[in-house]
């Protein structure tokens, strides 16, 4: 047990994985100096440049090469820096990594973890603020993870490396500095949500940074006499229907909250599923369908804040 931040937890997790399994390598730009967010700090010193691989600025080849590595016995952790740059490697992620096993009838596997930090962060404007996790949930072959705490970042990275499938791994840029207890022995299974807070009036389903804010919103709602149950999904594919359904049956009311654009976001999938099951009243709160602006006020305008979550929850409950 140790207290560390979300970035350090990822580094510690990767270090443990690399110690345990010689086939794990990491590749991406600037990894040798610890990665631009410090999430690879110290690893070069421990594992050398053949396993902590600094690469040219060649996103397509970063992922393409990772596919080749994965097919030939390695387990590459691929750093995309921010999801926005993963757009330079979508063929490699979707057509090459995700479909490989099926296309070739199971002759190969692509056990690669592709890290694509998401989210609005520090006035980074339209090309560095996206959250596109729903795209990856739409792609057969991929596992989709989005941890929100140092513990989950530690444990889900372990799980991602063990699962043997290509994993789209989303860390949130505004979480790097979040501190928390990390127990290296704690397992988190892929596909298992975590109940952040119990409640009977309303279920809030969320993930990543928005889950933290949903918990804040739930605390505020409690002051208004509304007991919200908050579920941090953690895994978008496969997602934990059981936990969501159980809670939905209990509260009869589900609000799904995410930072990504609401239109065609993954919240739609959950809301649609709940609606098909006829299980609860549903509402969504995602980002507006606008690019993220630079000025503080423009950036703030599109954020899914605790206040907005509270307002939406109240509207859903008709209070």
């Amino acid at each position: 047990m140790a207290v560390m931040n979300y970035a350090a937890a990822a580094a510690a997790s990767l270090k443990a994985a690399m110690q345990a399994d010689a086939s794990v390598v990491a590749l991406g730009e600037d990894l040798g100096r610890g990665g631009i967010f410090g999430q690879y700090r110290g690893l070069l010193e421990d594992f050398g440049p053949e396993r902590i691989i600094d690469t040219p600025i060649s996103e397509a080849t970063i992922v393409g090469a990772a596919v080749g590595m994965a097919l030939t016995g390695l387990k590459p952790v691929v750093e995309m820096r921010v999801i926005d740059f993963a757009l330079c490697a979508m063929d490699e992620i979707v057509n090459q990594a995700a479909k490989n096993r099926f296309m070739f009838g199971g002759q190969g596997r692509v056990p690669a973890v592709i890290r694509m930090p998401i989210g609005i962060w520090s006035a980074s404007a339209a090309q560095h603020s996206q959250s596109l996790e729903s795209w990856f949930a739409h792609v057969p072959g991929l596992v989709v993870l989005a941890p929100s705490t140092p513990q989950d970042n530690y444990s889900l990275l372990q799980a991602a490396l063990q699962c043997g499938d290509p994993v789209a791994y989303f860390e949130h840029k505004e979480l790097w500095a979040t501190e928390g207890e990390v127990d290296a022995t704690q397992r988190v299974d892929i596909g298992r949500a975590r109940i952040l807070r119990e409640g009977r009036d309303l279920t809030i389903v969320s993930w990543s940074k928005a889950a933290i804010w949903s918990a804040e919103a739930a605390a505020q709602l409690a002051n208004h006499g509304i007991e919200a149950e908050v579920i941090d999904l953690r895994t978008l594919w496969p997602w934990d229907r059981e936990t969501v359904f159980t809670s939905a049956r209990k509260t009869g009311c589900v609000l799904i909250v995410h930072e990504a654009v609401q239109v065609a976001g993954f919240g739609a999938e959950i809301a649609a599923t709940l609606a098909e099951e006829g299980m609860a009243k549903v509402a969504r709160l995602g980002g507006p369908r606008v690019p993220v602006g630079y000025a503080p006020l423009l950036e703030a305008e599109v954020r899914v804040t605790p206040d907005r979550i509270v307002a939406k929850a109240k509207a859903l409950l008709g209070r």
Binding site: I53, A66, T72, N95, F102, M103, F104, Q107, I190
Partner: protein, 340 residues
Amino acid sequence: MKQSNITSPGLLELYRAMCRIRAFEDAAEEASRGGVAAFGQTAGSQANVRGPLHLSTGQEAVAAGVCAHLKPADYLTSTHRGHGHTLAKGADLERMMHELFGKASGFCGGRGGSMHIADFSVGMLGANGVVAAGVPIAVGAAQSIKIRKADAIAVTFFGDGAINRGPFAESLNWAAAFQLPILFVCEDNQWSATTKTGTMSAGGGAAARARAHGIEAEEVDGNDVVAVSETARQLIADIRAGKGPRLLHARTYRFKGHVSVDPAIYRDPAELEAALKSDPLLIAAEQLRAQGIEQTQIDAVMQQARDEVAAAVRSALAAPWPAKDAAWSEIQDTGAGQWQ
């Protein structure tokens, strides 16, 4: 004709490899008649081979000449036009034909077809439906070899049109920066789909681009299997000796349309006619005769290949279809094939 150091049994083996490719392509073409979709046509459901079928007829010398120097431990990635490479790398011809017929006993269990032909067991990591996409994959395989200190190299085939896609250039730089054991092979058939590549490719071609990245490159007559083999042998020896990546640019010609149903009306018939005179099989046969091999022996090699392929077609026809379950399996372990 370039002087050869390859002894006559070597040449006969190269010839045999080429004949097997030619026979395979001819049979695949035949089996696709009326069935393969492209150019606005939709696949007839009666044909045995469906989907886009890209034939390497006329380009056999490149596959045979390069792969003659590869071991099963060496990795290979290929293009949409990958039957020849796969055969030359040692894949089982019968299971390849089964895959083209979409049968459960094919290499991909009928999931991939011609565009995803592969035999991972001999290091053939796959044909690819996306132009140039196999190149970075081979680069990664080469890097993996280096990291794992394995005794192998990687080879990637790509077309003349593919050199204009970004991942090709990125891969040249990457392979050179990391000094990886990889051979880049540009199989230049002068056409990219319906486009004469020369009109779209600037400068000195694949070899010039490689050299600009510090990669030594050779250009060769891709219809002369002896020349290809000799040049590949030297380049591969360099790579195995740890001298870093190399590129081979082989000039050949695409005898058929872009896909099997493409009549290629956009090209001058005279161009094809001229090219047919440099048929790599004719050239090799001539070389064999020059070495004193009897015509009957040469013919027998081809006949043997045709017989082998005919048997493969018969067995492919008889082989069972994949079960419906195959649509739902081999996707992922976690959260596998679900409707929702």
